[in-house]
C-alpha cells in the first residue's frame, strides 16, 4: 500500500478538472501558453486544493471550505456591460481615476477610460497578450509562487489588464482596475501585469466587487514589476458580495531606491484569501505594506504575506489592522525574510486585531527569518477587545457608548487608512470604514 497516497479528490477538485477540461480549448494562448497552462494545472492536480496540512494554509482550509468549483463566467452581454460601466468601483468611480473595467473576468476596453493616455502609458488586454503567445510572467523567488491557487490562476486566467509605464513617465491620474462580478454560480480567473519603468511614477487601485447573495468565485492575480527609482502606490479594495469566494495574489518585484506602498482594504466576501509576495530586489528601497480588514457575520479573511529583503539598505514597514465582529474570523500570516546580502535592512511588522464580539476570532502569525547580521528588525502582534480605558475617556466626556465605540473602531483602522497618499482615495476608504461601523 502506498502510504503517501493523497486523500480522495474533493468534489471541488473533481469539478475543477472538469472546468479546466471544458475551458481549455477556448482559453487564449498559443502553444507556449497552452503548455504553460497544462503544466500549471498538472501542478495543481498534484497538490490539490490547499488545506490545513499545508503550513501556509493552516488557518484557511480551502480544501474543506470550498465545497464546489464553478464554471467560468460567460462573457457579459452588452446590456450588462453598459450597466456595469456606470457603477463599477462604487464610490471610487467619483474620484476621476482612469478606470479600466473588468466585467466577469473580461477586460471591457469599450467601457474603459482610454482617453488622453499619458505619454509612456500603454494599456493592453491580457487576453490579447496571451493570444499572441507571450507566456504568463510568473515572478520567482517567493514561496507563495508555488501556491496551488496561483497555479490554478495560471491555468485558467482568461483575461486581465496589462499595463506598461515607460521609464521616467509620471502618470498623474491614478489608474483604477475595477473588477466587477455580475453572475451567480460562476467563476472569474484574471491575471494582470503592471510593469513600471525606472524612475516612473504611478498610483494603482484595484477594486473587486459583486452582488450580495450570489455565490461566485474569484481568483485574481496581479504581477507588479517596479523599476529602479520608481514610485508606486497600490491599493486593493476587496468588497465582494457576501457569498463570494475571493482568492487574490499580489506578486511584486521591486527595484532599487524605489518607494513602494500597498494597502489592502477588505470588507466584502464570504471567504477571502489574499496572498502577498513582495520581493525587495534592489538596494535602499522603502516599502510600506499595509492592510485593513473589517469583518462581520461569518466572514473568513486570510492575508498571507511574504516580504523578501534581498538587497542591502532596504526599509519596510508592515502594518495590518483587523476588526472582527460577530462570528467572523481573521487570519494574518506574515513573514519577513532578510537575505544574507540585505545588510542594514530595517523592517518592522505590526499586526493588530480588534475583537468586537466573544465569538470573533483572529489568528496572527508574524515571523522573521534573518540571514544578514547587521539589521534592525522587529514585529509585534496584539489581539484583543476594545480598550475599556479608551472608551471610558470618551464616555466621560459625554459621548454615548455606541458612538464612542464607533469612534474607536474608526481610529483603530485610521492608522493604516490615513497613510494613503491620494486624498480622495483616503476619504473613500475612511468613509467606507465609517459606513461599516455604522451598519454593524
Amino acid at each position: 500500500m502506498n502510504v503517501h497516497a493523497r486523500p480522495a479528490k474533493t468534489a471541488a477538485e473533481l469539478a475543477l478538472a472538469g472546468v479546466y477540461r471544458d475551458a481549455r480549448s477556448a482559453l487564449p494562448g498559443g502553444t507556449a501558453v497552452a503548455a504553460q497552462r497544462n503544466a500549471a494545472f498538472e501542478a495543481f492536480s498534484g497538490t490539490g486544493l490547499p488545506g490545513s496540512r499545508l503550513e501556509s494554509w493552516k488557518y484557511t482550509d480551502l480544501r474543506r471550505l470550498m465545497a464546489d468549483a464553478l464554471p467560468l463566467a460567460p462573457p457579459p452581454d452588452a446590456a450588462t456591460r453598459a450597466a456595469q460601466a456606470k457603477t463599477s468601483g462604487g464610490p471610487l468611480a467619483g474620484l476621476g481615476l482612469r478606470r479600466l473595467v473588468i466585467i466577469d473576468g473580461a477586460l471591457d476596453l469599450a467601457h474603459s477610460d482610454l482617453a488622453d493616455l499619458e505619454p509612456g502609458l500603454a494599456v493592453r488586454a491580457m487576453a490579447e497578450v496571451l493570444a499572441s503567445d507571450e507566456p504568463l510572467l510568473t515572478l520567482g523567488g517567493s514561496a507563495s509562487v508555488t501556491n496551488p491557487t496561483l497555479a490554478l490562476n495560471a491555468a485558467l486566467a482568461a483575461d486581465g489588464v496589462v499595463l506598461s509605464i515607460a521609464p521616467g513617465a509620471v502618470i498623474a491620474r491614478p489608474i483604477h482596475l475595477a473588477f466587477v462580478n455580475t453572475g451567480a454560480r460562476v467563476a472569474a480567473y484574471t491575471r494582470s501585469r503592471v510593469v513600471v519603468g525606472a524612475d516612473a511614477m504611478v498610483a494603482l487601485v484595484e477594486s473587486h466587487e459583486g452582488p450580495d447573495g450570489a455565490q461566485y468565485q474569484v481568483n485574481t492575480a496581479l504581477e507588479l514589476v517596479v523599476g529602479d527609482g520608481a514610485r508606486v502606490d497600490h491599493v486593493k479594495v476587496t468588497r465582494e458580495g457576501n457569498a463570494a469566494l475571493h482568492v487574490g495574489a499580489l506578486l511584486a518585484e521591486v527595484g532599487a531606491r524605489t518607494s513602494f506602498t500597498t494597502l489592502g482594504f477588505t470588507v466584502g466576501g464570504a471567504l477571502i484569501r489574499n496572498d502577498l509576495a513582495i520581493r525587495l530586489a534592489g538596494e535602499a528601497t522603502v516599502a510600506a505594506i499595509r492592510g485593513v480588514s473589517l469583518l462581520a457575520g461569518t466572514q473568513h479573511a486570510d492575508t498571507s504575506l511574504t516580504v523578501d529583503h534581498a538587497a542591502p539598505g532596504g526599509q519596510s514597514r508592515e502594518l495590518f489592522k483587523t476588526v472582527v465582529d460577530d462570528r467572523a474570523r481573521a487570519v494574518f500570516q506574515g513573514r519577513i525574510n532578510v537575505r544574507q546580502p540585505a545588510q542594514q535592512t530595517d523592517a518592522k511588522m505590526m499586526v493588530r486585531a480588534l475583537l468586537l464580539s466573544d465569538d470573533a476570532r483572529a489568528d496572527s502569525k508574524p515571523e522573521l527569518e534573518i540571514f544578514a547580521d547587521d539589521v534592525q528588525c522587529g514585529h509585534g502582534s496584539t489581539v484583543g477587545p476594545m480598550d475599556e480605558q479608551l472608551k471610558f475617556y470618551l464616555l466621560a466626556r459625554g459621548i454615548p457608548e455606541q458612538q464612542a465605540k464607533a469612534l474607536l473602531i474608526q481610529a483603530f483602522a485610521a492608522e493604516a487608512v490615513e497613510t494613503v497618499a491620494h486624498e480622495g482615495l483616503r476619504e473613500v476608504l475612511s468613509d467606507a470604514t465609517a459606513r461599516w461601523v455604522q451598519e454593524r
Binding site: 475599556e388 471610558f392 466621560a396 466626556r397 454615548p400 458612538q403 481610529a411
Partner: protein
Amino acid sequence: MTPLLQIRGLEAEVAGRKILNGLDLTVNEGEIHAIMGPNGAGKSTLSHVLAGKPGYEITGGEVLFRGEDLLAMAPDERAAKGVFLAFQYPIEIPGVATLTFLRTALNAQRKKRGEEELSSPDLLKRVREIAKKLGVDPEMLRRPLNVGFSGGEKKRNETLQMALLEPRLCILDETDSGLDIDALKVVANGVNALRAPERGMIVITHYQRLLDYIVPDIVHVLAAGRIVRTGAKELALELEATGYAQYQGEAA
C-alpha cells in the same frame, strides 16, 4: 437649596480592596472645595467613582447630583448632566483627532440636553478662543488626542475640554502636576474664569501653590478613604507645615 453634590457614607472597593470608607462631602453651587491628602488615600478613586469609571464596586452610601442619584447614571449621562473630571493621568487616544473629539463630545452633550448642535465653524471659533487663553498651540488640535503630548500639554488639554464643555461640577484631579510655573498660572486663570454662581469645583492637589491661584472656599483632608478634616483655606497652609502624619491610620 439642593446641594450641587451630596456624598453620604460612600464606600467603594476596587479589586476586592476597600478604598473609600464612608466618605461624606457636600458641595454647593458656587463653591470651590480643595481636597488634599496622602498618596493612595483614595482621591483619584473618589473622582473616578463620581465620573462612573468601571471597575469600582460601590458597597455603600449614596451620591446625589442636584438631587438625582448620580451612581445610577451611565458615565456619558453624568457628563451630559454636567459632571466633568479632569483626569490625573489623561490617556492617549491614537487615531482620534483632538478637534474631532471635542466636536463629538460637545455635540453629543448638547444633543442629550435637547440643545442644538454647534456648527463646525462656530465650534472651531470657540475652541480657538479657549486654546488661546490657555496657551494651547492650535496645531495640537489636529493631532490625535493627547498622543505624544507632554505632561503639561495633556493637563492644559483637560482644562481646554472643561472650558469648552462648561460643566456644572468640575473635578480637577492634580491638574497642577506636570505644569511649569507659568503654565500653572495660565491654567489657574482658565479655571478661575469658569468660577460662576451655578458652578461647583473640587480641586484635588498636593500643593498649596495651586490654591494661591485657585482660592478655595473649603479645604478637606482625605485620608484612608474618608474626609478626616475640613477647614477654611488656611488649612492648606497648615498641612504644608505639618504633613499628614497626624491623619495616618485615623480612619483605618
